[in-house]
Symmetry: C2
Subunit: 127 residues, 2 copies
């Protein structure tokens, strides 16, 4: 719990807060689900996940090709900060609206999601 500025900086980005908010609702999400929901490239999503992991907010579990992320529940300092975030994002109407759409990527397995993503991509490519 040393570098507080690093920890706070990790929270100082809208997309990273969205990741944390999504992990409050879904215990575990794979990289491709987060990439899909954020609406950024896979590389960008991976970068954000790396920053959050580095600050101690999330941890990852590798399962074959897939990497699943969840909130890190070990550090008490991080834990209490996450509690603060959870309490205070409830007033963020914009974020709550976005969270409604989270279901679209959690109502199916990562495998099905990726198939859908590839379909979408080919659709935009041929038009």
């Amino acid at each position: 719990m040393k570098h507080i500025d690093k920890i706070c900086k990790a929270l100082g980005d809208r997309n990273r807060l969205r990741i944390i908010a999504s992990l409050f609702l879904s215990k575990e999400l794979c990289a491709c689900q987060i990439h899909e929901w954020l609406g950024v490239s896979g590389a960008t999503a991976s970068n954000h996940l790396g920053i959050l992991a580095n600050a101690g907010f999330i941890s990852s579990r590798k399962d074959g090709k897939w990497v699943h992320y969840r909130l890190n529940r070990t550090d008490p300092g991080i834990q209490s900060l996450l509690k603060w975030v959870k309490k205070n994002i409830s007033n963020d109407t914009e974020l709550n609206l976005e969270l409604d759409k989270l279901k679209l990527v959690t109502d199916c397995s990562p495998i099905e999601l990726r198939i859908r993503q590839r379909k979408e991509k080919s659709k935009t490519l041929c038009c």
Copy 2:
């Protein structure tokens, strides 16, 4: 308490955390004391103070030429976040060492401090 990313971003800077840490120890500090202690230009200090005030962390009181800053105790969300910061900076050894030197700018009035600052400045100019 809407823009959480803005609030966290305000904490995501070492100098701004130092300002907050100093205001935990000294109930009130004037801009010139903070400028002196941070070791940055007055303009830079003023900018950081503006960001912290804009995020809701501090408030200011004008007293003639002098502007005094203190922690803002009105917003409950900000209040609990400040509590978290206070608790967790205790482990930051580097910051604690710096805070020891805070006395050098609080053991005299802003007026005396400014006289000292001008002396220091002229000393470096003529050598």
